[in-house]
């Protein structure tokens, strides 16, 4: 059999690509694949669209048709009836317009609003090296200064208080340095810490006062009872998370430790705090702490709540950091040992930087949780946004208003928490690219 080599039964050249059917590309294709792939899908899609429509068709006119310029609930309702008729529901945003600054700052004096704002900006500047990494090293100076400047800005008073408080660290460091060189490093550490504490407890006050007498320098002071609204929530959230951070690291290390007593103390503390609701800890702050402190100790309620919130956050933080520690490969610990590093060196140089990096998303979500939980302070009558809602409701002008106030507070919380959770996702993605 001979074959004609020029004749082929198989096509040798490719056909030109055909455009896919119209139903599979473009919008139609997308809709078919993503919305109406099967009958069940189609039904679900239609149901979902219906639900979304019915919610939005009520909410959107209510929100955007609301009135911003009424001075009382009755006035606002009269306006709504006048414009839209009896059967329509519209929001009375006038209450937000009138009480906006109180919901934000509580009783904080109006002409001093710049101070908390500035404190917040400084805080972000201080956090920038931690949050974004690649920034000029000099910003670290801001990070160091913020813990002293921010409280001073918020509470005001003599400028010498933050300065002398900072001096405590200087004193501690100097003593540590001197004793370490002269006698022994461990003794140096102990004495350094001790001398700093002694400075803060006994010397700081008189020295500050003396300096204030010589060079009076200060700004108007604001009592902490004037703090309120979202400012209070943010303040409690931020102090809680920053103060709980070192405490959380210590607790996490303690829990991982081989020292049985230290370990059981840490486990006991963590489990105790995590086992009780925050509200009971706040009860402790508001009604019990007085019993546990020496008689006559007068102690600001905000400070008490801050301590409790810090303790609460520290227990959760410890668990987050413990997760980070556990996630590190054992090889890292062994490598650190092989290099001959001692425990603290290994922690400082090898373990912690990696463990903390892994834990950052967890830390952010702890922060979001804590920030949301600050609303519980309204139950012990502190002037947070929810308590302010109650205050405003007890004003005879706005007596009976509900949805606008709660809706606004919920919206602001949503904005804060949502952007933080997005940020934590961004961090997660950024950190995942390591390998």
């Amino acid at each position: 059999m001979t074959m004609n080599s020029t004749q082929s039964y198989v096509r040798t050249e490719m056909l030109p690509e055909k455009a896919p059917p119209v139903t599979n590309v473009g919008i139609i294709g997308w809709v078919r694949q993503n919305l109406f792939a099967t009958w069940l899908d189609a039904i679900l899609t239609l149901m979902a669209i219906y639900i979304a429509y019915s919610v939005l068709s009520f909410l959107l006119p209510w929100i955007f048709g609301g009135f911003w310029n009424a001075n009382s609930l009755n006035e606002c309702r009269a306006k709504i009836i006048e414009v839209y008729g009896e059967s329509q529901n519209r929001a009375c945003w006038g209450v937000i317009h009138e009480r906006f600054w109180q919901l934000m700052y509580g009783f904080y004096p109006e002409h001093l609003y710049w101070r908390p704002n500035l404190a917040l900006i400084l805080l972000f500047a201080g956090l920038a090296p931690i949050l974004f990494g690649s920034l000029p090293k000099k910003l670290i100076l801001v990070s160091v200064a913020v813990p002293f400047i921010a409280p001073w800005l918020l509470w005001g008073g003599s400028v010498w208080v933050p300065v002398t408080a900072f001096l405590g660290f200087v004193v501690g460091y100097l003593v540590h340095k001197f004793v370490s060189v002269a006698i022994s490093p461990l003794l140096g550490l102990i004495l350094g810490v001790l001398s700093a504490i002694i400075w803060w407890l006994f010397l700081m006050g008189p020295v500050g006062e003396a300096l204030q007498n010589i060079i009076p320098l200060g700004i108007e002071s604001v009592e902490s009872r004037k703090f309120g609204g979202f400012m209070l929530s943010i303040l409690l959230g931020i102090t809680g998370i920053t103060l709980s951070f070192p405490l959380g690291i210590i607790l996490a290390l303690g829990r991982q430790s081989n020292l049985i007593i230290v370990k059981s103390l840490c486990v006991g503390f963590i489990e105790f705090i995590r086992g009780v609701p925050l509200i009971t800890l706040l009860f402790v702050a508001s009604v019990l702490l007085q019993y546990f402190l020496p008689k006559g100790t007068e102690f600001d309620i905000i400070l008490r709540v801050m301590i409790m919130v810090t303790i609460f956050a520290a227990a959760y933080m410890a668990e987050v950091i413990r997760g980070g520690l556990a996630a590190l490969p054992k090889g890292q610990y062994e490598a650190a040992d092989a290099l001959g590093l001692d425990y603290w060196q290994a922690q400082r140089l090898i373990i912690m930087p990696q463990a903390l990096k892994i834990s950052i998303p967890g830390i952010v979500s702890t922060f979001i949780g804590l920030f949301k939980d600050t609303t519980l302070v309204s139950i012990i009558a502190m002037a947070d946004p929810i308590q302010w809602v109650k205050f405003i409701q007890s004003d005879s002008d706005w007596n009976g208003i509900i949805w606008e106030l709660y809706g606004f507070v919920a919206f602001v919380f949503f904005i804060f928490c949502f952007s933080m959770s997005r940020y934590s996702m961004y961090l997660e993605r950024k950190l995942q690219t390591g390998h």
Binding site: P294, I380, S394
Partner: protein, 338 residues
Amino acid sequence: MKKSVFLGALTVASLTAGIAAAGTLDDVKARGKLNCGVSTGLVGFASPDANGKWEGYDVAVCRAVAAAVLGDNTAVEFVPLSSKTRFTALASGEVDMLARNTTWTFSRDVDLKLDFVGVNYYDGQGFMVPKALGVTSAKDLDGATVCIQTGTTTELNLADFFRTNGISYEPVPVENNAESQQQYLSGACDTLTTDASGLAATRAAFENPGDHIILPEIISKEPLGPLVRHGDNEWGDVVRWTLNALISAEELGITSANIEELSKGTNNPEINRILGTEGNLGEMLGLDADWAKRAISSEGNFGEIFEANIGEKTPIGLARGLNAQWTEGGLIYSPPFR
């Protein structure tokens, strides 16, 4: 003051801004501010307005005390306290006095170690129902759902009332007055019970007050008044006699309008003693001679405070009733300034 262990001394030295020493009066003077516990928002009695300024009937008492002691009726730090935290805050020294619709009872006075210095409002617990319900007596409320604020004496009175009358009810506990009002209006409870003054105040805020009636039964006595810590009698005297000065001022016709004129001297020796032109009452209290004059000019006399905050011309619209002066058939009665 007894110090427990050495650490105790340490903390006291460090943490305290000021130590609650022997006398609250001295503390307040040294601080330059009066810490006054008020409720967390009750229409007419205490609520912050749009500028953050506290206003109300109880607030006025605090302001009068601040004016008497410190000479400035704005030198008050208002501390909103929930019904749970109020006594602890007072006992621990967080506030110097409490003016927060608190009922004077035996156990609070004796067991909780508090001192009530007087009564600024004689109240009693009542019931409000919608007219449409057709109820005319609290004894007809068998099986009703009752809205009640928790953490108050009203809760105990309510249980006792229904128990002694052998009828049943369903309590719906709510946290604050605004909340109970919402619940009642929406029909989530058939009747609302609280102090009659509170009922009237609540009803006044309704769109159609005429659709609701307050039942005739008053099931308890609720003398409301300011209170201080037990054991500091000097301070208790200051608050007590400031309140009495407001009451006597009304009785004697001293008002914020004529006080300047009267303080030049009158032929009524009691007015003169109150206003400090005669005798040394202020000195006995540890204050100066003008103390009562300042207290009265702060927000007016007892009657003026009443009319301005909860009286018939306000949205609350309470009649004086039991809270009229004794000379007009009421119970408001001040011991003589002598």
